[in-house]
Structures are given as C-alpha cells and as structure tokens.
C-alpha cells in the first residue's frame, strides 16, 4: 500500500530521471579491479645441503622436493625451482643446464576480501571441542619431482642450493607481491625401487 501511494504521488518525469541515475550508478564498475599477470616476488635461496642420497650408488628412483607451510593467501604464482643456480631469476631459461628442476603452482586467494580478521588463520588457539573445519588459508604443502636435475648435479657435487623464483600469474591490488612466496619448511625425500 505504502509503495503504491509513493509511486502515484511522484511526478513521472522525476521518477524516470532518478531511475536513470540509479541504473547508471549500478552499471558503473566499482570496487576491486581485476587481477593482472606480471612481476616477480622475492627470490629465495637456501643454504647448501648435502645430497649424497642422490648419487648413483644410492639407487634412488624418485626424489621429491617438498615445501611445507606454503602460504596461499596472496597472488597466484609459478614457483620455479633451480638447483645450484643462485643467480636464477624470471628470465632464466627453464632448462636442466641452468639447474631448472621443475615448477609448482599456487592458486592464490587474492588478498582479503572480507572484513578485518577474515583471513587470519587461528587454528593454533582453537577450543578443544571446536569441530568446525579448519581455516581455508591453512598453509599447504606441495611437492615437485626433482629427480632428473638433482641426480645430474649429484654426479658432480654432493652439495646443492635450492633457489625458488616466484613468477606472478595473477595479482590484484590487495596482494603483497614482493612477499608472495612464504613457507615454513623444505626437504628432499628420496625413494628406492
């Protein structure tokens, strides 16, 4: 009833004008611009580690590099893994002679589109009887099969450094692109036949 009364009381032209303004406002793009590709985050290089397990005598048939506690709340990126090439960057060819051992990929959350606190992972202080699912930004683990490159290097030397070059594939203005690569641990795991 009230809606009808307001409509009939409003002169038609003014009503049309305000509807037009409202439509134009609703049509105008607003908020967060789309993500774009490009750029490189901070490159990580590990201290040298012994890799005797990769020498021919150990008969490993598969060696994985595992990253643990990998954060995925920011931009999407390709993590390019180079062994014994501390100067690797986004322009380094992904070939074995440059130490390239493989890539892992992160599909990033894209920064926080919620209200303050939405993207804070607080699994460490959950109540004992909290049966809800874990936070969606719980850090993940990932593995890259580095067998071929590592075994080739291990024929020459038994020490290896790991360099990871994060090449950004999608980042919006909420993302901290420089610190896109964050992880808590890293290890080689080898397997025998």
């Amino acid at each position: 009833m009230a809606r009808k009364a307001r409509t009939s009381a409003s002169p038609k032209p003014a009503g049309r004008k305000s509807a037009t303004r409202k439509t134009a406002a609703a049509e105008a793009p607003a908020g967060l611009p789309p993500a774009k590709r490009g750029g490189t985050g901070r490159i990580y290089t590990s201290p040298p580690v012994k890799v005797d397990f990769a020498t021919p005598g150990h008969r490993a048939n598969r060696i994985d590099l595992e990253l643990d506690g990998l954060y995925h709340g920011e931009a999407s990126f390709e993590g390019r893994v180079f062994l014994n090439n501390t100067r690797a960057n986004a322009g380094t060819p992904r070939t074995m002679d440059k130490g390239y051992a493989g890539s892992f990929y992160v599909f990033g959350h894209g920064g926080c589109l919620g209200d303050p606190g939405h993207c804070e992972v607080r699994d460490h202080d959950r109540e004992f009887h909290d049966y809800r699912s874990g936070h969606m930004l719980t850090p993940r683990k990932t593995r890259i099969n580095v067998t071929t490159t590592l075994q080739a290097i291990a024929r020459e030397t038994t020490e290896v450094t790991v360099t990871i070059v994060p090449v950004i594939t999608a980042a919006n203005e909420l993302c901290d692109q420089r610190n896109v690569l964050r992880f808590e641990g890293m290890r080689f795991i080898s397997y025998n036949p």
Partner: protein, 267 residues
C-alpha cells in the same frame, strides 16, 4: 530415457546445438538472482561465502587433515549442472581440454573467448559480478589475462600426474597443485584469484576437466587408499558425503569425448 547417464563432452567437440543449449543455460542462470542463479553458485566458492576446499586442512576433527578438493568440487559441479538442467533440460557441462594445441584449439576455446555470440553479449565470455558485501565491494564484469598457449599443461604433464601417483593423497596433491592451480594462473585475471574465480564462466569447464581426470584415474586405480574416515565427511554446504560422490555413474553422468544422438524410426 529418464534413467540415461548424461554424457559430459569436450568443449572442442560440441556441435552447434549443444553450444546453443550451453549458452542458453548460462544466460538464464545469469538472469536469476536467487539460489537457482549463476551468482549464487559462484558466490559459494569464494566471496561472499567461501565454502571451497583446496589443499590440506583440518576437517570437523581438528587434528585430522583432509584433502577434500576433488570430492568437494565434484559435488559443486553436480549441483551447478543440475541447476543448468533446470533451465535447459538435457544440457550438460562440457570439459575444457587445456592440453589441446592449434589448430584444434588455441588457449581459451572460441566459445568462451568471443565477446559476442549471435549478435548478443556472449554469456560464456564474462559475467557481471555484484557483491556489495565484499570488502572492497565488487561491481564489474569478469576479465581474463591469459598467458601464451604453450604454457598450458601438455598431455605429457597430464600423463605424469595420472601415471606416477597411484595413491589418493599424492594424486590429489599433484592434480591440484601441478595442473589445476597452473591453469587458474594461466587464465589469470579473475580466474587467477580464488575469491572471484567461479564468477568467470570458464571456471566450470576447467573444473569439469579436473573432475574428468579424477574419474579416469578412478577407473585405473579405484579410489586408491582414500582414507576411510574421509568417507562420511559432509561436503558442506551440499548434502553429499564424500562416499556419495565417488562414483560418477551413481551421480548420473559420465565423460565422453563427444555424443551423437542417432534418430530411431522409419527413414
């Protein structure tokens, strides 16, 4: 006919009638603002509802880390496809084979990359997001920023994931991390961001390919050593448990490359 298994076909094999039905289903869903509509389904994955499962995280028991990426997205696609079929009976969700190369396909398939179709805006090209509760709010059309075609996964990459991971845990990690995440980043733009990816119309066919690879892997490996305590986990907000989505034929669909209906009757 009512009990027939529906066939999800490759995008590259769709005939004109199938493309038209697919477009119409999206167009109609995009015009609906309630819980039958496109925006509602897209908003379940990321903003504003954030139900999606990726990688490892604890389930309802906090000390048990589970990998529900594949079952959750299978339940998600099932519900989306049924909503499509409510709008256009008989339509199925097609899968995007990102391993194809020119001349068969060059990156984003043509039915998704053309801004216009039949003189109108192509509903497979873009969708206008409107999420006033996001922070900052979103009110614009989805966009893509694809990379070079040769950066998409190859058949050799797929074979490596399918052939070298016989247990469920390593398979789901490899499929998600090495193929699924890679393609999201390759499409880039909104598809490259978890919070908004499902608003891009190509999202569903990308995930259909991921689900297809899981289905093929299941034919070869069964369910691997899928942990038994995962079976009764509910794939919220859907009503399925993990055990309910392990057999795609039970869900009423299968994967083919193409489907051609042969008319029966007098010539």
């Amino acid at each position: 006919m009512a009990n027939d298994i529906r066939i999800r076909q490759g995008v590259h094999n769709l005939n004109a009638a199938s493309v038209a039905a697919f477009r119409t289903a999206y167009q109609r869903m995009m015009a609906i603002n309630d819980n039958r509509g496109y925006a509602w389904f897209a908003g379940l994955h990321g903003t504003p509802n954030f139900w999606c499962w990726h990688h490892q995280r604890s389930s309802h028991f906090r000390n048990r880390v589970m990998e529900l990426f594949l079952p959750w997205h299978r339940a998600y696609l099932y519900n989306f496809e049924m909503a499509m079929r409510d709008q256009v009976p008989g339509v199925t969700l097609p899968w995007w084979d990102w391993t194809l190369r020119p001349p068969r396909q060059d990156g984003i398939p043509g039915i998704f990359s053309a801004p216009q179709a039949d003189g109108k805006a192509n509903p497979l090209f873009s969708f206008r997001m409107n999420v006033p509760t996001a922070n900052p709010p979103l009110r614009r059309s989805t966009q893509r920023d694809p990379g070079p075609t040769d950066e998409l996964p190859t058949q050799a990459d797929v074979d490596d994931v399918m052939g070298n991971n016989a247990d469920f845990s390593s398979f789901t990690d490899a499929l998600e991390g090495l193929l699924h995440d890679r393609v999201h980043g390759w499409v880039s733009g909104d598809m490259g961001i978890v919070a908004v990816a499902a608003y891009d119309p190509i999202f569903w066919s990308h995930h259909c390919m991921v689900d297809r690879l899981w289905a093929i892997w299941q034919v070869r490996n069964g369910n691997g050593n899928l942990p038994s305590d995962m079976l009764d986990v509910v794939l919220a907000p859907f009503t399925f448990k993990v055990r309910d989505v392990l057999n795609i034929n039970t869900l009423g669909y299968d994967y083919g490359a193409a489907e051609t209906i042969i008319p029966i009757g007098a010539r």
